[in-house]
């Protein structure tokens, strides 16, 4: 009997955890992971935090691989151009064709760039993004004391880099179309408190404005804002969110409008019908999470690749073994999104989906905003998220109460 092959496209955390979970699920055939980066899976959150301030070395960031996945085959620096789900094969950038028995889409997201002309959108042109290790290495080299840094976007990554750049002695301006940094998930009260902490560290905010122009030829020298303000810049970071890496899945009848739409077994939907033998995981999957509601969400929180990878590995190994498949796919599976953020001495720890809260549903549950606190995010009477500012033990105590929408306590 020919050995079966599980092909995982994407060699980040989601690809790694799915590969491990295929083995945990009892699959003994070939597990092949292809990824377009040159690196084995590594941890991305430190790229905007402690690693950016300290040592950016792959061996410090690499994920431990479970012993049961020691025989997984890795091909790095290889891009998949196209998948043919009906033919169960993918085509690589160099034309090579790989067939599979099951396929995992773990291709994640890329940093979004502003569609504005100007100096080259590269580290050499002074226009940075931060998503991959090589991005961080390029940015780190430019964050020298006294450098004028303009951070576009005041979400978590933009704010973390702003904090790190201040720590490294740079001048930092933060530009965002929102009225407060990180306001969309956190709400006005906490967001304005965090703005105050950044300002106390010397970050200058330009809020409620966009970017109209990049100045400079070969290298950026400034940014013109939509209100006419001109900021000098040695370094520009575009921290403007992400776009999903789904082009390779086009032409298969899937819903790719915001990542890969799947059912709760993480199987992509084609005309509303799940495609067996295929799963999407990590940042790129949009799936219904009945811990909150019936809507499908795509959530770029740190634990999603691990939790969705385990789910996909269990579903796919059951499919490959033709054993217990209906049971596993119909089981009520949910997860609780979680992430953290370090900015100066402030550690934020979030559980759930704070962004789902009603505008008047955000309340301080413990402590006080100007010090350490736990903020609760409510939709109606439901607690849909909690965020701790410090107070780790206290916020961890709220974790299991978050988001019990359709699955009960």
């Amino acid at each position: 009997m020919t050995s079966q092959r599980a092909l995982v496209v994407g060699a980040g955390l989601g690809g790694l955890r799915t590969a491990e979970a295929l083995r945990t699920g009892g699959f003994t055939g070939e597990v092949l992971v292809v990824g377009d980066e040159d690196w084995a899976p590594y941890n991305r959150p430190p790229l905007s935090k402690e690693a950016l301030a300290g040592e950016l070395a792959h061996d410090k960031l690499a994920f431990r691989v479970r012993s049961n996945a020691a025989d997984v085959v890795w091909r790095h620096g290889v891009r998949v151009d196209h998948a043919d789900l009906d033919g169960r094969a993918v085509t690589l950038a160099d034309g090579e064709r790989l067939t599979y028995d099951v396929l995992v889409a773990a291709t994640g997201v890329s940093a979004r760039r502003l569609p504005i002309p100007g100096p080259p959108a590269t580290a050499a042109g002074g226009r940075h993004v931060i998503r991959m290790l090589d991005d961080a290495i390029g940015l780190r080299a430019a964050l020298v004391p006294g450098a004028k840094v303009v951070v576009l976007g005041a979400g978590f990554i933009g704010c973390e880099v702003a904090a790190t750049a201040r720590k490294l002695g740079c001048e930092v301006h933060s530009v965002a179309i929102d009225a407060y940094p990180m306001v969309r998930p956190l709400g006005v009260d906490l967001a304005s408190e965090l703005q105050r902490r950044h300002e106390a560290q010397g970050v200058v905010f330009h809020l409620g404005v966009g970017v109209s122009e990049f100045v400079g030829d070969e290298h950026v020298t400034g940014v013109v804002l939509s209100d006419g303000t001109r900021l000098d810049a040695d370094v520009v970071l575009e921290a403007l969110g992400s776009r999903c890496n789904v082009e390779w899945l086009e032409g298969n009848g899937l819903d790719l409008t915001d990542g890969v739409l799947t059912d709760t077994a993480l199987r992509p939907l084609r005309d509303g019908v799940p495609v067996d033998g295929v799963a999407a995981v990590g940042d790129v999957v949009r799936f219904p999470n009945r811990r909150f509601d019936d809507r499908a969400w795509r959530v770029e929180h740190w634990n999603i690749p691990t939790d969705s990878g385990r789910r996909a590995g269990a579903v796919l190994s059951a499919w490959l073994a033709a054993d217990g498949y209906d049971e596993v796919t119909t089981a009520d599976w949910t997860l609780l999104p979680a992430f953290w953020s370090d900015q100066y001495d402030t550690r934020l720890q979030s559980y759930g989906m704070p962004g789902l809260a009603d505008a008047d549903g955000i309340r301080v549950l413990e402590g006080s905003l100007d010090d350490e606190c736990v903020v609760g995010y409510h939709r109606g009477d439901d607690l849909v998220g909690v965020v701790g500012v410090g107070m780790l033990r206290v916020v961890n105590g709220y974790r299991d109460r978050v988001g019990r929408g359709l699955v009960g306590p």
Binding site: N43, P46, A62, R64, R66, N303, L392, R393, N396
Partner: protein, 65 residues
């Protein structure tokens, strides 16, 4: 086969996510610092200790044996 849990406390940042995965083995103390309750847990805890190592945001946990 015995199981040995090693936490690199130079790397650990007291996120406490391991506590949810393996509460028998890890704890956050009153001061907010991570404590390893059982350094050589029983084999029956292997799966939860592996889960704990996976969910550590800074990959400070290794498992020997």
């Amino acid at each position: 086969m015995s199981l040995k849990v090693v936490v690199d406390f130079n790397v650990c940042q007291d996120h406490g996510q391991c506590v949810f995965a393996a509460p028998e083995v890890f704890e956050i103390d009153e001061a907010g610092r991570l404590v390893v309750l059982v350094e050589e847990p029983d084999e029956t805890l292997r799966a939860s200790v592996e889960d704990a190592a996976d969910v550590c945001p800074v990959q400070a946990i290794t498992i020997a044996g």
